[in-house]
């Protein structure tokens, strides 16, 4: 019985720890966008052609945050 209670508690603690991953992905996304802006202000004429690269970089950084969110969801509702 105590084991079941610990499992129920651990589910929520684990989901909370997984939520940290979303915050860390936010740092990554901010890094990509910030560096793009810094580069774009130095050479605005080249910035327009690099929007596609910006979105690809954002998508890759963000995907890992979404994975963390998925782990949290699985722990809360599937385990």
């Amino acid at each position: 019985m105590e084991l079941a209670a610990a499992a129920a508690l651990g589910k929520f603690i684990g989901a909370g720890i997984a939520a940290l991953g979303s915050g860390l992905a936010a740092i990554g996304v901010g890094n990509v966008a910030g560096n793009f802006l810094a580069g774009a202000l130095r050479n605005p004429s080249a910035a327009g052609g690099q929007t596609a690269t910006l979105f690809i970089g954002l998508a890759f950084a963000e995907a890992l945050g979404i994975f963390a969110f998925l782990v949290a969801l699985l722990l809360m509702f599937a385990v």
């Binding site: 690809i56 998508a59 998925l70």
Partner: protein, 239 residues
């Protein structure tokens, strides 16, 4: 009690029977509505084929121009052959995302089952195109000829793993973003029932709704542009 994840439950449209593969559900309904909306815009809206476009026709032309330019820029000129499929993907995802923002509606793209079909479809198609175009030379994609020789097997292993994770991350990115956005919307909607924080919650829900409108377009755009990137890798595997 109202639960923020209740909106993602797949229900049969008629009665309360079990959901089989042939049962018309709310997911079927909203996907059909998305297809209907796209058809209306592109078949009825551009029927006049006017040189000076009408309002509806100019919307269709903006979408066409945006996606065509993306395919040509990212996948190269020989990727333009696959433009119809990429355009279909973009419009279906965009309209599903937008229709899902109507209150009380259902978001098909929040279900991994829907996005996995799109993502794995792209993965299998791109792999088949790669082998058909380049033969066994497609495997050069994994073999970095400009890396030091002793590192190449390790890099090849990492490249193979990352190649097979692509469809998973491709589909989970879309489903995760839409699920997270809609869950946040409903959480703030629950706060609106608490009188003390209701005004704050209403301001927050307006801001988050605006963000969701933006996310809908960005996720459709990202899904399409990644399809183009994968297609470019298949057409020109040597780095």
């Amino acid at each position: 009690m109202f639960h923020p994840m209740d909106q993602f439950i797949v229900k049969p449209l008629f009665g309360d029977g079990p959901v089989m593969w042939y049962t018309p559900t709310n997911a079927t309904l909203w996907m059909a509505l998305a297809v209907l909306a796209v058809s209306l815009l592109f078949v009825v809206g551009t029927r006049g084929r006017a040189v000076v476009p009408t309002r509806v026709q100019s919307i269709a032309e903006v979408f066409y121009g945006l996606v065509y330019k993306m395919v040509e820029d990212v996948a190269g000129h020989d990727g333009a052959k696959y433009f119809p499929h990429i355009m279909t993907l973009f419009l279906f995802i965009l309209f599903s995302n937008y229709l899902a923002l109507i209150p009380m509606s259902f978001s098909p793209t929040s279900h991994i089952g829907v996005t996995a079909v799109l993502g794995f479809g792209v993965f299998f198609a791109v792999t088949a195109i790669g082998f058909a175009k380049n033969g066994i030379g497609f495997l050069k994609l994994f073999w970095m000829s400009d890396a030091p020789l002793f590192l190449r097997p390790i890099i090849a292993l990492i490249e193979v793993i990352s190649y097979f994770v692509r469809p998973v991350s491709h589909s989970i990115r879309l489903a995760g973003n839409i699920t997270a956005g809609h869950a946040v919307l409903k959480v703030f909607a629950t706060f609106a029932a608490v009188t003390a924080i209701a005004p704050l919650s209403i301001v927050a829900i307006v801001a988050i709704f605006a963000l969701e409108v933006l996310v809908s377009v960005i996720q459709a755009y990202v899904f399409t542009i990644l399809t183009c990137v994968y297609l470019r890798d298949a057409l020109h595997p040597s780095h």
